[in-house]
Symmetry: C2
Amino acid sequence: MTMEGSTPRGRTRIQKEKREVILEAALEVFSANGFRGSTIDQIAEAAGMSKPNLLYYFRRKEDIHETLMHRLLDTWLAPLKELDNIGDPMTELRSYIRRKLEMARDYPRESRLFANEILQGAPRIMPMLEGELKDLVDEKVEVIKGWMRSGKIARTDPWHLIFAIWATTQHYADFDVQVRAVLGPDRGGEGRFEDAARFLEQLFLEGLRPKS
Amino acid sequence: MTMEGSTPRGRTRIQKEKREVILEAALEVFSANGFRGSTIDQIAEAAGMSKPNLLYYFRRKEDIHETLMHRLLDTWLAPLKELDNIGDPMTELRSYIRRKLEMARDYPRESRLFANEILQGAPRIMPMLEGELKDLVDEKVEVIKGWMRSGKIARTDPWHLIFAIWATTQHYADFDVQVRAVLGPDRGGEGRFEDAARFLEQLFLEGLRPKS
DNA sequence: CAATTTTTTGACCGATTGGACAAACGTTAG
DNA sequence: CTAACGTTTGTCCAATCGGTCAAAAAATTG
């Protein structure tokens, strides 16, 4: 029996392993060149196998990308999911910013893959944006609104607050080459994430300090 | 004599006009699909001419992109160039944020073209980033440092302040589809730029209010 | 061992791509 | 008019692309 892409059943040990190798290679290639800029040959070479061999595990180039994007969104939303109102609002926000910045530092390829997809108009994940993502944001917006009502943080627009956190943190992954070019050799080393963390904490925590 | 791409001399009126039409079409196509994702045929069609005709004005696909990127950087740096210390620091910063946000609103294609290039590792404009861009930022960092020394704004990292302004404003162009998907039909209309402007002003101006 | 199934590969295919080129067309100057 | 120059197009080409296929090689099973 040939492998059925639709049925998760019947995956042998080799299939599971090779599919992981391919996905890892595809993440590397897709995040660096975008979907249309990447070729199956490139991915196959990065995965250490021939093109027909790769196509034995994923029938179409788009299947690889789709699998990658589905996994990605879960990883990507995880930090926001952790945001809840059991702790102190300022502490919660600081933790969220830190987690997002750590993701930009530790998973820049994932961030760039996501950025690539959105830049092209999100043709393959639009439903997920309007569904899962929007629902999660709506939920967290209510949490933030609660903080504002109770005077724990300044009143402002919760949606744009979330956008600002996304934008500033992901910037260090997506625009990494620009950040390093501007900072130069001295300031552009690994310490840039520490500097960024300090700055962003100050910006957001001072910027959201409740007036009273 | 055939047209020399290297010599700006000898451009007829028709050449100037057609080159502009091509660049406008290329901006549309490149910003939506990236460099490798765009074809000469697409650009030619958007420009209302045949592919060989287009190649009469630009010998290679890359020449179009290069011309576009060179112009782009000038446009892109203009708002930052205007930042100087003749006015009140807070007013200057507010103006800068507003100008950048207006650019994201009025020139989203340019923003996405730039983002695409940086995402791919800036293969074609790296020298400009390390040269012009870095020099300009270094200069403005000194301006901001002066404001901090004189106690007009809070002491913080000027480089990351600039990054944060870039990231938050360009986010509304580069991640537009995500912003609109998350905001939904009600809040995602044209008013979103007004909301963003209000939020960003509050965030940055409160976040940078000097502690006295 | 042999039979069967899974994995791998070389060769191939049609479509698309960036680009070349010569011929045709248009325009202008003498 | 004609010669020269600028512009446009149809046709063509080599390279690359995503993907197929049959057959070989490995692995698994009995």
